[in-house]
């Protein structure tokens, strides 16, 4: 598994991401700068890490979504290459049009930083094969704009095609109501592209890979990726 992390001005989770990828794939990812034009040859996975690219100016992820490196990411995705966007990375994927919809301001207007339970909706993708379908995992969230919104047609298509990757829930797996931290439509925490080779999610699985810092429920996502393209 050869991976590359794209670093934008204002990214800040790239080292957490690198650690998670090293641990699960045994290889250090390449770090690429936003102004680069090409991905390293043979890249299997491109990761857009969390942070505040371009200071969240204009709209979260709007400027990063239109940088030169994103053209390379678009081509990589069109070839069927894997793309993972976490938090600001998810916002960038939506702004670049690689994923549908948009992440709006949290319904309570607050930046939310806490532990959060998620339900893994299905395990038939390169990102989740090491989880069980319906498995409840505990990871962390840290965002001000995670309120997923899209038009009715898009939401219906996402639901019908099984492209909702993760939903916010409580410890028992109950979905809806107060367990939704940000007002996200249908409690959506992450979604896939049509070909399921692009995943965008607001929570941070890369921060839950070590018992020392509160759990390892995020590790299986990276192990899934590690086993997806050996």
């Amino acid at each position: 598994m050869k991976s590359a992390i794209i670093v934008f001005p204002g990214s800040n989770r790239e080292f957490d991401m690198a650690r998670a990828l090293e641990r699960s794939t045994g290889r250090s990812p390449e770090m690429l700068w936003h102004a680069d034009h090409d991905l390293p040859a043979g890249t299997d996975l491109v990761v857009l890490p969390g942070g505040f690219s371009y200071g969240d100016y204009l709209r979260c992820g709007a400027i990063a979504g239109r940088t030169t490196i994103m053209e390379a990411v678009r081509k990589h995705a069109a070839r069927g290459g894997l793309v993972l966007g976490v938090c600001n990375g998810f916002q960038i994927l939506c702004e670049s049009g690689l994923l549908p919809g948009i992440l709006m301001r949290n319904a309570n207007l607050r930046f939310i930083c806490k532990m959060q339970y998620l339900r893994v909706e299905q395990n038939n993708t390169a990102f989740t094969r090491n989880y069980e379908s319906g498995e409840i995992i505990k990871v962390c969230i840290a965002h001000g704009e995670g309120n997923y919104e899209a038009d009715e047609t898009t939401i219906e298509a996402l639901e019908k095609d099984g492209r909702v990757a993760f939903r916010y829930c409580d410890a028992a797996g109950l979905i809806g109501g107060r367990e939704n931290p940000n007002g996200s439509r249908n409690d959506i925490a992450g979604i896939y592209s049509q070909q399921r080779n692009i995943l965008g999610l607001m929570p941070h699985p890369e921060n839950l890979i070590d018992p020392l810092v509160g759990g390892t429920d995020g590790l299986k996502l990276f192990e899934s990726l590690g086993s997806a393209a050996a």
Binding site: L58, R66, M104, N106
Partner: protein, 78 residues
């Protein structure tokens, strides 16, 4: 040539910031203001005298970057 671009949220899109502003206005005892919707204004200079070309140019700017047409409308004044 100068132009102004106004970007606003589409009808039906929840605007939590607008709601918060509405609440703050109420707290300041400013009465009778409702349905506050927050938007953005961009003032720009365009180096052309052709207002049709300028408008086309700015339309492209809005579609590509200034507005996210999933949730936002835009208008251009030249």
């Amino acid at each position: 040539m100068k132009a102004r671009i106004v970007v606003t949220l589409k009808n039906g899109v929840l605007d939590p910031q607008g709601k918060a502003i509405e609440g703050a206005l109420e707290a300041l005892n400013i009465k009778g203001v409702s349905n506050v919707r927050q938007g953005k204004v961009f003032d720009v200079d365009i180096f052309t005298d052709d207002s049709v070309a300028a408008k086309q140019n700015l339309q492209a700017a809005c579609e590509k970057l200034l507005a996210n047409t999933v949730i936002e409308n835009y208008s251009i004044e030249i």
